[in-house]
Symmetry: D2
Subunit: 295 residues, 4 copies
């Protein structure tokens, strides 16, 4: 249990994950662009690095949990980046939601250095991260996946393997976000139809989420949509739009038309145009109310 | 338990429901347009009527389980219809998936005769009907609902009350079918994006239906969509299109735009145009494969 | 020129058409539900009838110009209706925008009475009707069309023949309204994209309507959309929605998916939901501004 | 007339434009990546350069007519690029269809060098270029536009000025292509609805393009769509998809939802998925036929 791991990215998701690793007995070396966020981890026993390269040991494992493609490139490439210091046998366990294209590029760059790039994006909000209840999609070369298995067991409640192409784990991750947004739109349309007929939205919510749609996606987001109460903000409309657009970009690459995804892109874009960029993505359903002339 | 009930409509759904009522000790009087389908019920103890009116006792309960608006009108109105013979205090328990407009009209006609019209459309396939596992949306005047409660307990595993307007139960029912179709489209788009990236559709299915979407709607229809195996036919594309169009009609009445429903209407219509009217509605996902150039 | 014609329906369109027939020397017998609207025509020489049947001579021609299917049925069928009094050899020249299904039914009913039903819906606003500049789509049996040719020459600037099925002229007519609405949506989206980039909408309008789209549809509606000035009201959003829904109904009948028409149906429905039912249909483009967060 | 101009990009469009400039008396220095395409221009009096920089004179005008953003960057930037050699007072007249974002970047880079960047994308096919019948959208700083006015008069039949932001001319250009594609989709849906009703597509085409839509866009593309004859290829589906995606990218930047553009993106993407990348973009209407089950 005395293995030393690098951990880069201590945001809403990364922080609870890092804490769980410490608790499980791993030695952690952490880096965050905004250094102030590393304070409590250092107090809990982690070592802080000033640059990404400082938390990477030759041939060891480094985990990244970042906001987007640009952030991943920033900590990985260049002289201060992790890749130049990871060395043969090293593993970059990339858990961020990035584009499949970026994952593809990263995997190639790492393999040129005899490193492994394992994509392992997660499903779950910060609370799930803290409770070690994330679901994880994993993809990459077998040896790499083998070496990170125990770490992923520490972080989540289950792993699903999508083969050797790292990018595929990211395709699955953004597909999941697309499916969530589609479920929200469907509920929003149905509940609004009900409301206009004089039916309480919450009554419809109850029926559907106790029967056909008795699952976390519908139960958690449906409650917000039924009650038109989108607080607190978990995942913003702006980030949701980013992910739906990643889906559309990926769809373009492989020539796979996705009309629901296109609709959701417009729906979210309209939300941004109306000043809702920082609101919870479940508030995309307010667009349906706008269309229906409901305040 | 010696109460006598009329039961009209012995199709795939009505037949197992009628059998469950007999088993529970109710006396049944049954009518079906195609009389041959009443044979085994008669053998099991039901009395057969030659016309709808023949299975109705003054002031009692009559259940209808029919294919559409037209069939409901045909057995209800006119000289041979059930309504003219139901009498004050009688209850028409209408469990078919009909349009909200028809339910509204029916409720009015029944109340003019001092009868009650209780709408109680169901969620579930024939197997669920046989296993008394239907979910039921109920709406109508309180006295009526009170009197049919025990019957509905016999037929299903749970009831959800949507108030006094019978039509509202039908709004909920068709909204549910809309949400199911939307879930199928979303899965179809996501799995096809995956397939085009070289990901096994079934792997995506597994992740999603064990985690975020671990519920009957996704598990049952998702399996078909993942495997591209749409046999056996449970509910046809033609009937699904009918229901989605009922949703759009209801949406028009109350001025509630529903872009996902519109898309699904076109998707299903295209299925019909390609000769798939009698295929299972989950095969709407074949339209996505067509669009993506996959055989 | 002393031929006597019946004329039913003296609204915004019918009135100028009837006046043109009088000016051309036809004897007119007119009926309108609201009799006050017949006053000036009577002063100009027309004879007024109290019921539709009163303006029909055995074996002659009667023209109808009405708001919708219901109005056409009301003046045609029943004891006071025109059909019972038209007699063998009579011709019903139906110039209203009605559904293809209604035209089909009407043609059949007329032929059972040895009458001809000629569908001749028109393109053009009231000003065009007054100026005899309507464009007319004609369909029906050859003898009927032959006998109304001179009348149609009096009313419009050109006829286009769509064969023997009367309904087909109506398919063409509603298709035209669909194409107009689609052009408006396209301009609305393009001009709003321009506006958000700081481009004057009217500058874009100028380029497009002087070059690629130098035609009446784009020039007349485009001006309104560019200037966001939708006055005066020519054709209401409510009527436009009716016509787009006729298109979708016709599309359903022949299994022809029409995604643009579906979108326009939602766009117009949203307009109605926001209280714009009586506004000009070009104001459907305000929906795009709403989506884009522009007041 | 002895002014010397650089001209880069001698494809289907650039070649006839360059020839027209020679004919008008300009001295031309030409560059093309594939040098063989410069042969006949050299024979007609042009001087050939081996690198983009070789055709640029200090303080003079250089015209580019290229396929996309990447090609424009390739000839403009770097040591061999035109920008480093254009010098103060020089003008880059950029007539390609590129993204507004690229135009914005280019304008900035040029102004940092005291050069002018004038965007002047064109509407028209190669035949129109040869016949000097292009329509041109122009944007950039006034001095620059002033100096290229006579050149543009030589190349086209009309100019429309969109202000000082070069990118705006490109917004207008790609909006035009979007509007053309939307017109094609609308015609395709309408003609197919007609066909399924037994109406000849060409009859509908005749009515619409002689009346409401009597303009080049509908007349030229409508004929192909009516006749389902998409030969010869003018502008490919692949390039059309590129342009529609430029529209969607621009729409994203300014938060302007464009549902018709999204639909067209999917329609064209499906065309590519079915092997039609190199077919004429009017063949996007075959997607409607596919949806409608017509071979």
């Amino acid at each position: 249990m005395s293995e030393t791991i690098g951990f880069i990215g201590l945001g809403n998701m990364g922080r609870p994950m890092a804490i769980n690793l410490l608790k499980a007995g791993y030695n952690l070396q952490v880096y965050n662009r905004d250094e102030s966020k590393t304070q409590d981890l250092v107090e809990a026993g982690a070592r802080r690095g000033a640059r990404p390269r400082d938390v990477v040991n030759h041939g060891s494992i480094v985990i990244t949990m970042l906001a987007n493609d640009e952030a991943l490139e920033a900590v990985t490439l260049g002289n201060d980046g992790l890749l130049a210091h990871l060395g043969p046998g090293g593993i970059h366990l990339s858990m961020s939601t990035v584009s499949p294209a970026m994952a593809r590029k990263m995997q190639q760059l790492h393999e040129q250095q005899d490193c492994a790039y394992v994509a392992a994006p997660v499903f779950g909000r910060p609370e799930a991260a803290a409770a070690r209840q994330l679901w994880i999609a994993v993809a990459g070369k077998p040896e790499g996946k083998q070496r990170v298995r125990r770490i992923l067991d520490t972080l989540g409640q289950g792993q699903f393997d999508f083969g050797e192409e790292a990018a595929n784990a990211n395709v699955v991750k953004i597909s999941g976000n697309f499916m969530l947004a589609a479920a929200m739109e469907a509920m929003g349309e149905a509940f609004t139809l009900g409301e206009k007929n004089g039916i309480e939205r919450s009554k419809m919510y109850e029926l559907f989420t106790q029967t056909l749609f008795a699952c976390p996606a519908y139960q958690s987001y449906g409650k917000r949509i039924a009650e038109k109460n989108f607080e607190p903000v978990g995942f913003t409309m702006q980030l949701a739009l980013k992910d739906v657009n990643l889906v559309l970009d990926a769809a373009k690459e492989v020539q796979s038309p996705m009309p629901f995804a296109s609709h959701l892109s417009n729906r979210l874009l309209s939300g941004l145009a109306r000043g809702r960029a920082d609101r919870d993505w479940s508030e995309l359903s307010r667009g349906i109310l706008d269309d229906a002339g409901i305040e």
